[in-house]
């Protein structure tokens, strides 16, 4: 895969899946606390999501940071839109905004 192909894969993935989390590890085995926290939050809200393990491919890891111009992992997308990382997801969960957003965009 080239960097360009990785970017296309990222674009396709976020457009074809309702909720996507670019993370370290998998939803069943997160490899970092921040990625794990996002998984926990989404599971807690009963959300069905796709996890993409950026540790599986350096081009993916680089690619997602290029795609959003956001330097850290995890990165959460809902209906193709970049919502934020662990901090923003946590704040939105606490305020009820995340549940609202998920209700408006059912998977």
């Amino acid at each position: 895969m080239t960097q360009e192909e990785a970017l296309k894969f990222i674009d396709d993935t976020v457009k074809k899946n309702s909720i996507v989390v670019f993370m370290k590890g998998t939803p069943d085995f997160p490899m970092c606390g921040f990625s794990g926290k996002v998984v926990q939050i989404l599971n807690g809200l009963g959300a069905k999501f796709t996890g993409v393990d950026v540790l599986s491919d350096e081009l993916l890891r680089n690619g997602i940071k290029l795609y959003t111009k956001w330097p850290t992992i995890p990165q959460v997308f809902i209906k193709g839109e970049f919502i934020g990382g662990c901090d923003i997801t946590t704040e939105m969960a606490q305020s009820g905004e995340l549940k609202e957003l998920l209700d408006k965009n059912p998977s």
């Binding site: 330097p71 923003i88 704040e91």
Partner: protein, 85 residues
């Protein structure tokens, strides 16, 4: 290994009116928590606010800074959060 002073300086260079409180989360100089208080955050989305802080630290994030937890406030929301405790 990074120091809180290095990181705070970079944030203040980007946001000159800001108050910055930093915590080294692991003691290892590569995972930090930043509380950034600035009225320039007024009217901006969370993502825009966090992006400003990320941009200030973009070079470090490419290298020695592995993880950054960001909490942003305006002067008013900071005061409210302190009073709530």
């Amino acid at each position: 290994m990074l120091s809180v002073e290095q990181i705070a300086e970079l944030i203040r260079a980007q946001l000159p009116d800001s108050e910055v409180y930093l915590r080294d989360l692991t003691g290892g100089g590569d995972h930090f928590e930043a509380f950034v208080i600035s009225d320039s955050f007024e009217g901006k989305t969370r993502m825009q606010q966090h992006k400003l802080v990320m941009d200030a630290l973009s070079e470090l994030l490419k290298g020695p800074l592995h993880a950054l937890t960001i909490k942003t406030y305006t002067q008013q929301s900071w005061k409210r959060s302190q009073e709530a405790q």
